[in-house]
């Protein structure tokens, strides 16, 4: 299915957030996620199902003022 990852279209075969993150290459990275604008804690990634057209936000640490 096709989803948006940080506003870029990506085709994925998995359906849970955790497996999709692994499929995309984020496995083990220190990241935070939101699906369709809603924060999804890491503890819930295994149980959240992603559907066609979903928008996934993946954020990582960055310099800030």
């Amino acid at each position: 299915m096709r989803i948006l990852v940080n506003d870029e279209q990506r085709d994925v075969t998995n359906t849970t957030l955790a497996t999709i993150l692994n499929e995309l290459g984020y496995g083990g990275a220190r990241i935070a996620t939101a699906v369709n604008g809603t924060f999804i804690p890491a503890s819930q990634r295994d149980t959240v199902t992603i559907i066609e057209g979903a928008s996934l936000e993946v954020l990582a640490p960055m310099q800030g003022g």
């Binding site: 990852v5 940080n6 220190r30 990241i31 990582a60 640490p61």
Partner: protein
């Protein structure tokens, strides 16, 4: 000094953005003696290592971490970002920024109050980036903030303390609330002045990161903070409109030729 029950060894807080290299950032933090650094979150492509490398660097600095919500323009966006930052950085501290006006990066104080209330109820310890407005400060404290971060001047402007009268009034109205002058400080003397006015800490980024010599500027800010704090503790004299001779006039020679 403490924020939300956490004792801090230094009253200088340093932003981590705009340094030419990670090494320069680390050296500047050390030279400044900062006890807190601010950090942020950004999108990262799969496989990219920038965020992970930055996280390793921040951990190695051995200072407290204050994540921000920089770039947020609405309450929901800021609240979501705060939750994501709490998970990534492992702290319930958040520097809450909601920008309401682009040219001056002026805080949206209405959204700020609402987001402070929501995040406080969610267990966050909120450091709201605000103006010197007294009513806004009152609302933020009622919403649950225990620390305020009034601006000195617009972010990155280096203008120092734009409204000394307003900042002095803010300090006087809330004498027991820890307050950090955040944004606009361009020179060490600006930081010293913030402490002379009775503020508890300063947060600096651009003034150090973009200085010709960031490490030396970090040290200069450390010294300025110490000087300003000591000056405040020593109780400065009141300003006067008219001159008062400092040399005793008693026994002054009289009758000498003026010309």
């Amino acid at each position: 000094m403490e924020f939300y029950g956490t004792q801090l060894s230094s009253r200088l807080m340093l932003g981590t953005a705009q340094y030419d290299s990670p090494a320069l950032l680390a050296q500047s933090v050390e030279a400044s003696g900062a006890s807190v650094v601010t950090v942020s979150l950004r999108r990262e492509a799969a496989g990219a290592q920038a965020g992970q490398a930055f996280w390793s660097l921040v951990k190695s600095l051995g200072v407290h971490i204050l994540p921000n919500t920089a770039g947020c323009h609405g309450v929901r966006e800021a609240v979501t970002t705060a939750h994501m930052a709490r998970e990534v950085f492992g702290t319930d501290w958040v520097k809450l920024e909601i920008i309401g006006q682009g040219d001056l990066l002026q805080p949206d104080v209405f959204g700020l109050v609402e987001a402070t209330r929501i995040l406080t109820e969610d267990g966050f310890k909120v450091f709201p980036y605000t103006t010197e407005d007294l009513v806004t400060a009152e609302r933020l404290l009622k919403a649950g903030a225990e620390v305020l971060m009034p601006w000195g001047a617009p972010i990155g402007s280096g203008r120092g303390l734009n409204n000394v009268f307003g900042l002095r009034a803010l300090r006087a109205h809330f004498p027991n609330t820890p307050m950090v002058i955040d944004a606009g400080i361009g020179r060490p003397s600006h930081a010293a002045m913030a402490f002379e006015l009775g503020f508890d800490a300063v947060l600096i980024n651009t003034a150090v990161a973009k200085a010709g010599n960031p490490v030396r500027m970090g040290e200069a800010f450390r010294l300025a903070c110490e000087a300003g704090l000591a000056g405040y503790a020593a109780q400065p004299i009141e300003e006067r409109d008219m001159a008062v001779p400092s040399t005793p006039t008693l026994g002054l020679a009289r009758g000498l030729a003026v010309e």
